[in-house]
């Protein structure tokens, strides 16, 4: 069963030559990334089943075409055409019947694998996911929000996902799962990792300027370690100064995707030296950046957009705790000293 299990041994040995090994994905097979979820081996088995069907039929077509070409190639100017039938119902039935059976098999295998993916088990660990231009936020059952997705390894995890703006798509290659994240509705995806590992959540549905940077760190912990992480993470601001809380929120909640803290331009205004300054807004009015303005900019970001920027910031209404809002204000003050 070399076909089903992946790259055949001889190919692997060829590919292990130093120059070529760089081309082979680390830990995975030639075609597929490493397997880290319970779906992965089934998906890959089907992938390689289809793959060897493709190789077989492509080689068959190629061999026939090249064979006929060499055998019946016109030499010189003499046209030699031998008598032969130009129809055969038998052949037509063969070459539509056999592919039909094969695609039926592929369909059934693909559907069985998919139904498994589409049916989250009861009692799975549930994380709320919000996609927005251009970051992810993950809300854990205890209310803790992070820009990274941490899950317990070896346990089923369900994500309930929605978007603040346009369509995004949750994709972790090692898990072999992908699900669109649509504004105005909830979509669900579930998986169970097979071992602790670190990966990346990619956005797979085009969503504008920083689509390719809409990534989040994915960490599957050993279950005991996951509990310890959660405990630490949920109390992360204890003992921190408000400005440090703000700096952490800035990192964790994706602010840095659009706002710099070093004066550099970006999709949104930089946060450096802003507090206390006067700004001109898109409608021509002006105002001073004070505590109230910063608060409003996070909760109603499109109310007063600074001139020269697009109104693309999503609202954080209900998604930031009071301590975090106060922290951001303190952090911005510290950036203006």
């Amino acid at each position: 069963m070399i076909g089903i299990s992946g790259v055949p041994a001889f190919l692997k040995s060829v590919l292990s030559a130093p120059a070529i090994s760089a081309l082979v994905g680390s830990g995975g097979t030639f075609w597929m990334p490493p397997q880290r979820s319970t779906f992965a081996s089934e998906v890959d088995t089907l992938f390689y089943f289809i793959y060897w069907i493709c190789v077989f039929f492509f080689m068959l077509i190629l061999a026939l075409a090249v064979g006929f070409l060499l055998k019946y190639r016109r030499r010189g100017e003499e046209i030699v055409v031998q008598k032969s039938a130009h129809h055969s119902t038998f052949l037509e039935l063969i070459w539509s019947g056999i592919p039909l059976l094969l695609v039926l098999a592929i369909f059934v295998m693909g559907f069985r694998g998919y139904i498994n993916m589409a049916t989250p088990p009861a009692g799975a660990y549930e994380v709320q996911v919000t996609g927005q231009k251009w970051n992810w936020s993950f809300t854990y059952p205890n209310g803790y929000i992070d820009s990274e997705l941490h899950v317990p390894s070896g346990e089923p995890v369900t994500l309930v996902m929605t978007s603040q703006d346009v369509i995004h798509s949750f994709f972790v290659p090692e898990l072999r799962v992908k699900q669109d994240v649509v504004p105005g509705r909830y979509s669900r995806v579930w998986f169970e990792t097979t071992e602790p590992f670190e990966g990346t959540v990619f956005c797979a549905e085009y969503c504008g300027t920083s689509h390719s940077e809409m990534q989040a760190r994915f960490v599957a912990h050993d279950p005991a370690e996951f509990d310890r992480w959660m405990e630490r993470a949920a109390r992360w601001w204890e003992g921190m100064s408000p400005a440090d809380i703000g700096a952490t929120v800035y990192q964790k909640r994706g602010c840095q995707q659009c706002h710099s803290v070093d004066g550099m331009g970006g999709i949104g205004p930089t946060l450096q030296g802003v507090f206390g300054s006067r700004r001109t807004f898109a409608d021509g009015s002006t105002g001073t950046v004070d505590e109230n303005y910063i608060r409003q900019s996070m909760l109603e970001p499109r109310a007063k957009v600074v001139q020269g920027f697009d109104p693309v910031m999503p609202t954080f209404q209900g998604r930031l705790k009071e301590e975090e809002i106060a922290g951001i204000i303190a952090y911005m003050k510290s950036l203006s000293q």
Binding site: C54, V81, P99, D180
Partner: protein, 558 residues
Amino acid sequence: MSTAIGVKPEPDVAHVPSGSNYLNCERGIKSWLLTLDHKRIGVMYLVSTLAAFLLGGIFALLVRTEHLTGGRTIMDADAYNQAFTLHGAIMVFLFIIPAIPAAFGNFILPIMLGAKDVAFPRLNLASYYLWVGGAIFAVVSILINAVDTGWTFYTPYSTTTNTAVIPMVLGVFILGFSSIFTGLNFIVTVHKLRPPEMGWFRLPLFIWALYATAVIQILATPVLAITLLLLTVERAFGVGIFDPALGGDPVLFQHFFWFYSHPAVYIMILPAMGIISELVATFSHKHIFSYKYIAFSSIAIAIFGFMVWGHHMFTSGQSALVNMIFSAITFSVAIPSAIKVFNWVVTMYKGSVDLKTPMWYALIFIWVFSIGGLTGLFLGSLATDVHLHDTYFVVAHFHYVMFGGTVMALLGGLHYWWPKMFGRMYHEGWAKIATLLVFVGFNLTFFTQFVIGSRGMPRRYFLYPEQYTGWHIASTIGSYVMAIGFFLTAIYLIHSLFKGARAPKNPWGGVTLEWEAQSPPVHYNFDGDAPKVGDPYDFERVEYDRATRSYRHKPLKA
């Protein structure tokens, strides 16, 4: 090919017609712009769509060049997003959809039928000007603030981005009417202008393919028109149809869009398959294998093509039941395509395969279309599609089908009918060098993308992880090789217009009626009545004439 380069151009042949043809019967720019001659309209379409191909190709090269590194190479993220959007929109709407039907279909279809023109010559010219109008709108969008939505215009991104979506969408709306007019014209022409002895099963297969295409064009395109109009209304007036912020449903847009755009895939590929049927038969000098199966498979593809749009949306959140149904129907489309490929290959059996440039392209088509079609199996299957959806694997797959399939067939058709259209022979040696460059470049460009895709790189990514760098560089080099091949093609074809040997009536030994017309044809296609038609693939009807190095039709027995 050792013989390829040294081949002398075909010698001038004695019976080359001098005197009037469609190119010189009237002169002046007005005689072109106001022409009702399907051949001139076909030539105008050919030039215009190839110009669109050049423009779309430039954007493709910009995208590929950007990907030489994983970081920023030559442009910023917004420019990149605009570049891939314009590449897709221009290639799909201005080039691939119209190219084969409107350029070769217009030129060849009436002649193949022995008719003087299409059924509605004025509608035909109107269709060309609609194309020009649509192209102007597209260019306006590029000049204002080029659209950055991807060619698919997914909502609510397309209703909220600040780029010029409306001009591009209206351009596509107008192009849709151009496509509908062409389809309507072909359907009526095939029904009403066939000579009496040409029954449905004596139609050349290219005509069957164009007919099936025309049916899709007139049935599916209005849906796109309505969808894009709704999009425009939402964007311009804030009427909530697709944007959930206004009470709309963004996934509804995807249903509407793919209800047209999946059948549109067959608008692109069916005419290409029609060309391949002609090329394989002519250059094997043998009756096409299983005429009826190839003809009916075109119709089957046209019908099934309407029922599979949901396979673009397996991860959109539509229900598992709906996904299952669309997956099952999708696999049924695989069979008619497989039937065609097998029949083409077997047509060569016991034939006399003449490896002229158009046949090279036909063989390349079989190669790339097989890969393109087979890799569709991974995407039709639900469990594997979830992983592969919206990755480079999909990009590679549809380029193998759309670019590999349609463009290779278009190039095959171009080299096949070039002597007929312009009365000149091109240089076989240079043509084969260019063909080889295109073939190698194409596979290098797109095969690499299967690998990065299945390993998990999403499409439409400006920045990419370092592990993909080597593959991206290879892909970009491939695109440059291909570009050199295309420029070489342009050079020797244009050169042939001035210096090429005069083309005989029938340089390849084709049986269909266009090979009984002079090269280039006269204004009304044939002097006097059109010749009688028989079986379009009865190659015993043509005989080789050593003196003129071309073929002659024998008179048809009564």
